[in-house]
């Protein structure tokens, strides 16, 4: 049985299409319902739908053999996994955003609101700027508007959310897209199948 962890939401739908397109469709997956596990006994496949940020955890701990996850999640949680293929969808980028016309006051630590603490501290360490991280769980765009922080670090797709909140990108950190990942041990024991999935997906890109 090959266990596949996919993120809920848009990226998960696209990821499932990738699997379906190369012949790994699973009955029931396309129905809109609240089921989280889908099993195809005949082909030995089990799909699980989990929170995007948990996909890497499921794979690292072996609950899933392979999975699809954004590079942003990998950069933040640094899981010990193999990253086998860039699926080239779900493209976005990590960026620092600030209110229009913002000027960095270097005389004091920069207050940064984010849901990505690790990426934030690594980035500001690399540019040598002292910061105070404000860890939030969502709607980070609000933080600079009400004075909770000076800037935010977040993933930016089209930039619409930023524009609507009168924020602009002041620095790019790193690009991200969906990746096919595998557990390091499972990969050794299911290598033929996992390699086949990877090469078919690469050909179908």
């Amino acid at each position: 049985m090959l266990n596949i962890a996919l993120p809920t939401g848009r990226m998960g739908e696209k990821a499932y299409r990738c699997f379906a397109d190369i012949g790994y469709a699973c009955p029931g997956m396309e129905n809109q319902n609240r089921k989280l596990v889908f099993v195809d006994e005949k082909r030995g496949l089990r799909y699980m739908l989990v929170k995007p940020k948990d996909v890497a955890m499921y794979v690292e701990y072996g609950a899933a053999d392979i999975g699809v996850v954004g590079r942003d999640v990998i950069m933040e949680s640094q899981p010990d996994i193999y990253e086998l293929l860039d699926l080239e969808f779900g493209k976005c980028r990590f960026a620092v955003a600030a209110p229009e016309g913002w000027h960095d006051d270097l005389s004091r630590p920069l207050r940064v609101a984010t849901t990505y603490c690790h990426v934030t501290s690594e980035y500001f360490l690399s540019v040598g700027r002292q910061i105070e991280t404000i860890m939030l769980h969502g709607s980070v765009e609000l933080a600079p508007l009400i004075g909770l922080s000076d800037v935010i670090v977040d993933i930016v797709e089209s930039g619409t959310t930023l524009r609507e909140n009168k924020l602009v990108v002041v620095a790019e950190i790193a690009p991200s897209s969906a990746r096919l990942i595998a557990n390091k041990s499972s990969y050794q024991f299911n290598r033929e199948l996992i390699d086949e999935i990877r090469s078919k997906m690469e050909a179908a890109k």
Partner: protein, 371 residues
């Protein structure tokens, strides 16, 4: 030696000890503490920088050992040319993702003075036999830090870029390798050599051929010849099908300079065995001997392979006012049948027994038999 009443987790360490002894390795015992400085100076040798420290009576900062190999390297005398050791110790580490220290049962083996060739094959074979003792379905991934470092020298990149590149190789991430190398001018051959590290054929011979065809200098070729010699000896032991070339497997270049390997067992998400050639660790202690070894993390195994027992004990023997002598005789008889026994006056609430026996009944039956 092996008592049938022993649990698998008690038997396995004995089995491994006897395996290591049979190849001439002697047991190494160490104290639970070393000075903190020892670990601070060699922090990159440890997989995690967190060390559990305390202040000794004389004010020195001490540490509960997170590792055994560093102590063996430190304690090896310059004139001890050959030292074959194994150990079974508890180390104190922070587990990945956990915010607390854990006591980890570690067994390991170190071969000080190990030359290339046979010594490497012997250690690889012992690693394989150790894994097989846990589960027959295993793989040993093998890499060579000499090959990697000779390739890195060829690229002429700065240390931070090399760090990022090595991390990307460790994750087999072609995308991140491309990002790490994007501002660096490399020849086609150099690029191909880097990308081939993460995409080797499953077959050992094909993987070696690919690595040889990608070699850019004699150091890289020498590493391949060394691996070839080791694998041919492993073939004698029938271990070749269990070995995989896995050049994404990287240990710290500051300490490891030759063959390195990691053991995976079916059903366990992480490598449970890890080792390699660490001549450079001994050099840091001013010693010239080469050295090779591995460690097995036993904690990870128990949960996955030890079946929960249905009963704590075979027979729960309940006695009342019998003499100690009568009770002892009854216990002795049950043990002689090869069963486990717990003798108590009352039924202990949290013990589950296969069978509860009243000593009174046993004595009554015996009385009847006599008549």
């Amino acid at each position: 030696m092996a008592n049938p009443n022993m649990s698998w987790e008690e038997r396995l360490p004995m089995q491994l000890r006897s395996l290591y002894r049979s190849y001439g390795y002697q047991i190494y015992k160490m104290s639970d503490f070393e000075t903190y400085d020892l670990y601070r100076e060699n922090k990159n040798f440890l997989s995690d920088n967190n060390v559990l420290t305390f202040t000794d009576i004389d004010g020195r900062l001490m540490a509960l050992k997170p590792d055994v190999t560093i102590s063996i390297a430190k304690d090896t005398k310059p004139e001890e040319m050959i030292r074959k050791l194994f150990y079974s110790e508890h180390v104190f580490r922070r587990m990945p993702g956990a915010n607390q220290f854990t006591e980890i049962k570690q067994m390991g083996l170190e071969y000080i003075g190990a030359d290339t060739g046979y010594a490497e094959a012997e250690v690889i074979s012992l690693a394989c036999q150790s894994l097989a003792a846990i589960n027959q379905e295993y793989f040993l991934g093998v890499s060579h830090m000499g090959y990697i470092s000779a390739l890195m020298d060829e690229l002429k990149i700065d240390d931070p870029t090399q760090e990022i590149l090595l991390q990307a190789i460790g994750r087999k991430s072609a995308g991140d390798i491309a990002i790490a190398l994007k501002d660096i001018c490399l020849t086609k051959k150099q690029q191909a050599a880097v990308f081939s590290l993460i995409d080797l054929p499953a077959s050992l011979d094909e993987a070696l051929d690919q690595l040889r065809s990608m070699a850019l200098n004699t150091d890289m070729l020498n590493a391949i010849s060394e691996l070839e010699a080791v694998f041919s000896a492993c073939e004698v032991w029938g271990l070749k099908p269990r070995l995989r070339m896995e050049l994404s497997l990287l240990n710290d270049l500051e300490y490891y300079n030759g063959i390195v390997f990691q053991g995976y067992i079916k059903g366990l998400p992480r490598a449970i065995l890890s080792g390699g050639r660490y001549d450079k660790l001994l050099q840091r202690f001013g010693k010239s001997q080469p050295a090779l070894g591995f460690a097995i993390y036993l904690n990870d195994i128990w949960g996955a392979f030890v079946q929960p027992r249905d009963y704590d004990v075979d027979i729960l023997l309940i006695y009342t006012d019998q003499t100690p002598c009568q009770i002892a005789e009854a216990v002795q008889e049950i043990l002689a049948e090869g069963k486990t026994v717990l003798a108590a006056k009352d039924i202990p609430p949290e013990i589950s027994a296969r069978q509860v026996v009243q000593l009174n009944d046993i004595l009554a039956t015996k009385e009847n038999d006599k008549c």
